[in-house]
Point group: C2
Amino acid sequence: MPTSTDKIFSEFKEHSVAEFFKKNKQMLGFSGKTRSLTTIVHEYVTNSLDACEEAGILAQITVKIEEVDKEKYRVTTEDNGPGIPKKHIGKALGQMLAGTKFHRYMQQRGQQGIGASGCTMYAQITTGKPVKATSFYDKKMISCEVAVDLKTNSAILTNVVEQDTDGSKSGLVVEGEFADVKYDKSSFGVFEYMKRTAMANPHAQFTLIEPTGESVTFPRTVAEIPKKAHSVLPHPLGISTNDLLDLAHRDTDSTKISVFLQNKFSRISAARVKELRDALPAVDFEKAPKDITWSDAEALVKAFTSVKWIAPETDSVIPIGKEQIEKSLQSILAPQFLSVTERPVKIYKGGVPFAVEVAIAYGGHAGRQLADKFTSDVMRFANRVPLLFDNSGCAISEAVKEVDWKRYNIKNFDEEPITLFINLASVYVPYTSAGKQAISSEEDVFAEIKYAVMEAARDLQRYLSGITRDRDKKERRKAVLRYVGQLSKDVVELAGSGKSADVEKKLMNLIETKYSTQIEEDESEIDAPKENGNGKEEDEGEE
Amino acid sequence: MPTSTDKIFSEFKEHSVAEFFKKNKQMLGFSGKTRSLTTIVHEYVTNSLDACEEAGILAQITVKIEEVDKEKYRVTTEDNGPGIPKKHIGKALGQMLAGTKFHRYMQQRGQQGIGASGCTMYAQITTGKPVKATSFYDKKMISCEVAVDLKTNSAILTNVVEQDTDGSKSGLVVEGEFADVKYDKSSFGVFEYMKRTAMANPHAQFTLIEPTGESVTFPRTVAEIPKKAHSVLPHPLGISTNDLLDLAHRDTDSTKISVFLQNKFSRISAARVKELRDALPAVDFEKAPKDITWSDAEALVKAFTSVKWIAPETDSVIPIGKEQIEKSLQSILAPQFLSVTERPVKIYKGGVPFAVEVAIAYGGHAGRQLADKFTSDVMRFANRVPLLFDNSGCAISEAVKEVDWKRYNIKNFDEEPITLFINLASVYVPYTSAGKQAISSEEDVFAEIKYAVMEAARDLQRYLSGITRDRDKKERRKAVLRYVGQLSKDVVELAGSGKSADVEKKLMNLIETKYSTQIEEDESEIDAPKENGNGKEEDEGEE
């Protein structure tokens, strides 16, 4: 037997992560011509936005798409960010799993350190050409060509030119040629991607130069830089034994476990440590964090669940913000009705804080208008990045589907002029794939999205029932008014005195008062008993 | 500016692929307790099956699941494969992207070299324990514990024990403890996974020992080892410029391009090279493959599409086989009707050969029986591996959904006692994610699946219309027979002679002949005009 299998094992080899993603490029989003082009723009634009925000710059990003040949395009992305220092250009654009994002516990769009290098790889394998980068950083302009050495997953830099500048300009320009891609205006194309990116990033200005040469600018609607993301400490709730152990073994600053807990976690105070100490007499809180055992860590994680924690720091997560979303959607959709729901920061598995915000827009340009009807439009975002693909496998779509819209008097959600805008803000987004287009259905995340959508649905219900009452009221009033003139005359005649005009005026007043009162009564009737606090309880009742 | 961004770049780091998948474990299928356990069993069972087939052994695999604690299980998988030599155990179970599978162009279940090491990582991070491996290989028994060093993506072996054996036993036993997992009998659980694996691998025997201690055996229904997979050369059709260039630059054996083309591709003969040479006067076919340029390669790839190729080698792809599927589904579903469709080998992007086989079963235990109705059951497989998750994003589900079932007189496909069994056999399956549960919608693959399902639907339609005719016939006959007795008596009386029993017999004969003839006529009528050759044309007509 072994002799026949010797051959099998003679072929045992190791591979680089770049070779893996070259073979499995669909996992990075390179599947289908339209999607591939959107993926490229997506990777460059998210990097530019992250860089600008981290440097505290109001982003201004231009994407230019030129048709070079059939299904072959040149994509140029230019930003006004900080640029990249020379020694990091290779790693940023030509090496996978390298960068500033992967290891930090901080809310950013990118989190893998794969995207831009994946684009370089895609340029190489479809056109045989490296990408060109020009970085304006620290009074220097560096331009070069970057390729990925797939065998070793390392960058190859060529034609490096460096020159001094006066430092007035900063930013990064990346230019690449890609084949097997297609520019179109479908709902999966670059145009739609840019539009949605603008909606979720009202502080940034985007210009798209289309292959036809036409230039579209999505102007800035808010002139305020978003709050700067910062690294946060994990919350003890939801942390795993392994994570705790890892943190402890890496902690060389703290002298003992009791200090480590306070230093490396959010919300663990001296009082909480005392509580934990009392609950766990078997754990030695005086020993060094490096000596913590699996069973110590396991006991701690278990004890965490019985301690009463204060809520996670609200600034660990940076939502777009109610006002920003309102301004943005008003300017782009001009809806009849708009309501934005922001849920408080919650924690999911791994101690990761997150928050969900949902806007619901009705009428105006909300929804999608087809020839003879409307369809609703669910726009998914993660840390302000639009998710255009893999709709069906995403926690956001699934949560929306699970909402019982009829309960909110929305008979056929799919055919209403409704836009649902849903953003998940989190220091770590659990994507289902390296292509980052769908969110895995983590229990807590899914539930929060659903509650937020339910809140939005309630707001819309209230508005729509208002419209119904308004219409009813107008009709009743019209019916009454028809008789007011005649009635006034009759009253005057009957009384034998007075002016019919005076009587008519009084009657009109009465009607106005009567109907406006009634409206208020109606509203309080509708609001009071149906609302029952937070979505959670209501939802549990539903199940 | 630069000073404020210096800090950003000071945090620039590189990461191992193991760290990447630890952070993004949901990409490997570790999301949700039930799914995580199924993923573990899936990885070990597929490796065992691949190993047995490559060594030419009729597989016998036992999976034992023991509950250690709440949501904590010990999983032990034992096979009778060739075992693993000592020096490869670490790489096979403790290093990602290492193995025999990634670089070979050969049909196997595993293709990434991640799965089993991913399980080791999951054991480590949920229970803090390495996995235990015992390998019987070449008159040796080696047992050891394996962990992944996540920082470096390399294996850590401990407690290695080696002893000589008489060589009568070969195989591998892997035992691991995993937490945050759950055993249940849902359609996403281990039981269902094993059942489906048995259906698609009738040559193998599987035993599942459940946490209750109960043992279930899915017996072998075919005693024939599947044809051995072998490495194949890519077909020129569908190859990309980059792939051609890669192959050429790696080819140190061929002295010139003309030889390289014949050596490194399937179906390129001297005659085809001549054809290509005539079509491409600008390309020098005499130069060494290492000197081939991007534009040479591009020209060749373009010319490939205008040459008339013979079909890919049918043995490049190993389907389960019509007979095997029939035996397997008969034994497990005992359906009223069963039909298996095998499509010929085709080529998709990258020059990859693949074939689709579809079985449709109706009645018996086909479909799923709920309290008051049936639902249809679509079973997805890739290289005989059941795909239980990510249903909605998979090319198989999407192709089934696109079939217009009403055309085949199946009014409500979702509520029929139908099982559709669909297997994609290919040297490379384009999975959407490293978790390997859904197939990316490559155009050619999608089309083939749809045609195969359409063929199956036609078969079922023919059977069901037969049933309808049969029922009609029986009813008409019953109606006629009601009068035969009386008619016979009347005829005898009218004629004034003969026995009514004789007349009745003759009449009965007449009826039998009449109706059986009519049935044949009916069938030829139905078959003739509706069939129009292959699914492709028909489908194009539809669009």
